[in-house]
């Protein structure tokens, strides 16, 4: 337990409030050399984990944002064709034998390193964040599995690039597509839920100390009640912080029913769909605010 508490404290120092389960998973991830798969609703701080981990370890953060249609060239490596063509033209009158020229054209100088190749060729182990892996398609997931098991990438023209150091891999998923069991089995798993009152309060206090204890408490109370409502898109921690910042900017120092009119103006930072917004009339806001 002391190890876990120590890591929690170090994460808090860089502005991330982690639950003990997350700290344990991060420790285990380093000890077992396994990737960590993080799932949870949007805005609960999944991406932030990798950033904070990199900050705590003083490591580089390499990020691969997944999207539909992401292919090997965009994720691993690509040849710099334009430069290669230019080199071919320049080498036309060169006297060296063809094999040497060819070797020159397919050397690392003409290789564009994309995030995955970059991550395994760092001297110091970096933190590799593979964000929203569920957006990429199954074929890419298979490539990823191969990389995560061997930590090597084979480039036909150049040979196999082996990892100098193994990166710490954090994979996040929003659950828009079912991930393969093979990927799940290879990873440690962490589900991040919406934070409880105390945790969210701690986050607001760390991230926005200028809010003051009273406003922070009221803001968190308000957001927690909003989350209990039947909404299409429940606000995450990111929204809580945005909204607090918006309140501060508007000069609102307490959340109560007198300020309902002005709170209504800032709600666009918290409520993100039209249907949900329609439910927040002045009366509703005043009622929630009065209870804070």
């Amino acid at each position: 337990m002391p190890e876990i508490v120590d890591l929690q404290r170090r994460l808090e120092a860089v502005g991330y409030v982690a639950e003990s389960s997350l700290a344990a998973a991060l420790l285990l991830m380093v000890k077992l050399d396994r990737p960590l798969l993080v799932e949870g609703d949007a805005g609960v701080g999944k991406t932030e984990i990798a950033k904070s981990l990199a900050a705590v370890r003083g490591a580089r953060l390499i990020r691969l944002q997944c999207y539909e249609g992401l292919d090997v060239h965009a994720a691993m490596y690509e040849w710099n064709y334009q430069r290669q063509l230019l080199a071919i033209k320049l080498l036309e009158h060169d006297e060296r034998p063809t094999a040497v020229k060819e070797q020159d054209i397919f050397s690392e100088r003409y290789l564009l390193k994309r995030p995955l190749l970059e991550a395994i060729s760092c001297a110091e182990p970096p933190v590799l964040l593979i964000d929203e892996v569920d957006r990429a398609d199954e074929a890419f997931e298979a490539y990823l599995l191969e990389l995560l098991s061997d930590f090597q990438i084979s480039i036909p023209e150049l040979g196999t690039v082996r990892a100098v150091t193994k990166p710490l891999v954090v994979i996040t998923s929003n659950g828009t597509r079912e991930l393969s069991d093979a990927l799940r089995r290879r990873c440690l798993y962490q589900y991040i839920d919406y934070p409880a009152f105390e945790k969210e309060l701690a986050i607001v206090e760390i991230r926005l100390p200028q809010a003051g204890a009273q406003l922070a408490r009221q803001v968190v109370d308000f957001v927690q009640s909003v989350r209990r409502m039947d909404l299409q898109k429940r606000p995450g921690i990111a929204e809580t912080l945005d909204w607090t910042a918006a309140l501060l900017r508007m000069g609102i120092s307490t959340v109560d029913d007198d300020a309902a009119e002005r709170i209504l103006e800032t709600l666009s930072a918290l409520i993100k769909t039209r249907d949900d917004r329609a439910g927040f009339t002045r009366e509703v806001v005043a009622r929630i605010a009065a209870a804070c």
């Binding site: 337990m1 799932e39 828009t176 440690l188």
Partner: protein, 391 residues
């Protein structure tokens, strides 16, 4: 608990190793997806993290052995059941209760209940006038269904042919995304240059891009309540034929609660499929709560299954005992998340029937296509219209 068996923190005795490794099997028996490597990883992890502190052991095994969110939620209870002596469990049972309550916060009570004990949900709601007034009742039926008809040879061949044709036509639907193609209208410049490198920069072989062909995903939601019972088996057979033809099909049945039958239907062994469905079919031919079931579907599976290429097909007669407002709301939510919403109503072809039940009226504004489909012939007529709608 574990400390008594340990002498040195680092090395684990054989007894303890067996006890720890047994936990992987225990989880597997409880429906966790723990592979053979799970037990090895478990021992390795406990050696690394130490096992003297139960909290550390719990947290590290949780990270190691869980693979999805429902496993994550169930883990603590199972951990306690395996490792803690019975008199310590009350404390944790409170924990589980709290977690379940939290789960339910977004929904309406009763949803989780029906997941735990299928078939008893209706008993709690206990409606006395559940006598099938115009086909619909709130009662959940405890009877299971007879699935022998699933493998009936009659029609099976025609049905398969029809579904194969449907699958083939689905394949023609195209997407906006482009992929490499051997011929086409648009030049893929990047790939052309890449190939030209081997010819010294002269683009001899051209590469093309073409719009990718990806079939839409299909989600089938089949009403198997009592009023639908003449058609339920027919639709199950249809769904089975479709599941064997297409990969990206998900099938659910609903009555008073929702059940995923996709993997059972897709079972290549017809007799095993029959057995599995038999187990799943508790509550078959009971009452109907369409709105609640669709809401449950949207909440539990919506995020995972619905995207802009999903066609949702609801098969129901629309006799609903739930709130029409809830049905309308759930359908609207489903409609927003998916590509098209098709409603097949087997009664539609009957003379004198008009879709005027409360449920149907609530559903109408959100449906892209309302079509009849009581037998194979009418399904065959309807398929082109479904394809047209999915386009």
């Amino acid at each position: 608990m574990l400390t008594s068996a340990v002498t040195a923190a680092g090395e684990l005795g054989p007894l303890l190793r067996a006890r720890l490794a047994g936990f992987a099997g225990f989880l597997r028996a409880n429906g966790f997806n723990v592979g053979g490597a799970g037990a090895l990883g478990l021992l390795e992890a406990s050696q690394h993290m130490g096992i003297l502190d139960p909290q550390v052991l719990r947290l590290s095994l949780k990270a190691l052995l869980c693979g999805r969110s429902d496993e994550w939620r169930r883990f603590d209870g199972l951990f306690d059941a395996y490792f803690l002596p019975p008199n310590k469990r009350i404390f944790t049972e409170g924990n589980i209760g709290a977690a379940a309550a939290q789960d339910d916060a977004g929904g309406v009570p009763g949803g989780a209940q029906s997941q735990i004990a299928p078939g008893t949900g209706g008993g709690v709601a206990g409606d006395l006038d559940g006598s099938a007034r115009h086909g619909a009742s709130r009662e959940a039926s405890l009877a299971s269904a007879d699935f022998r008809e699933l493998n009936q040879a009659r029609h099976a061949y025609e049905m398969e042919t029809l579904m194969r044709r449907f699958a083939r036509r689905l394949r023609r639907l195209r997407l906006r995304r482009e992929a490499a193609f051997h011929h086409g209208r648009r030049l893929d410049l990047q790939s052309t240059i890449r190939h030209s490198v081997s010819c010294g920069g002269t683009p001899i072989r051209l590469s093309w891009k073409e719009r990718r062909r990806v079939r839409p995903r299909l989600v089938l939601l089949v009403d198997v309540s009592r009023s639908m019972s003449p058609y339920s088996f027919f639709y199950m057979r249809l769904a089975r034929a479709l599941c064997t033809q297409l990969k990206d099909v998900y099938c659910f049945i609903f009555h008073t609660h929702l059940t995923d039958v996709g993997s059972a239907l897709g079972d290549p062994d017809p007799w095993r499929a029959q057995e599995r469905l038999h187990l799943l079919a508790m509550g078959w031919a009971g009452g109907t709560r369409i709105g609640e079931c669709l809401r449950d579907f949207h909440r539990d599976h919506g995020l995972r299954l619905l995207h802009s290429r999903t066609g949702v097909i609801v098969v129901s007669d629309g006799y609903d005992t739930g709130e029409p407002a809830l049905l309308a709301h759930s359908l609207a939510a489903l409609r927003r998340r998916s590509r098209r919403l098709v409603w097949l109503n087997p009664l539609l072809n009957q003379p004198g029937y008009a879709p005027e039940s409360r449920g149907m009226r609530a559903a109408m504004p959100h449906i892209d296509l309302l079509a009849p489909g009581a037998d194979l012939a009418s399904i065959e007529q309807v398929l082109p219209r479904i394809l047209e709608t999915l386009r």
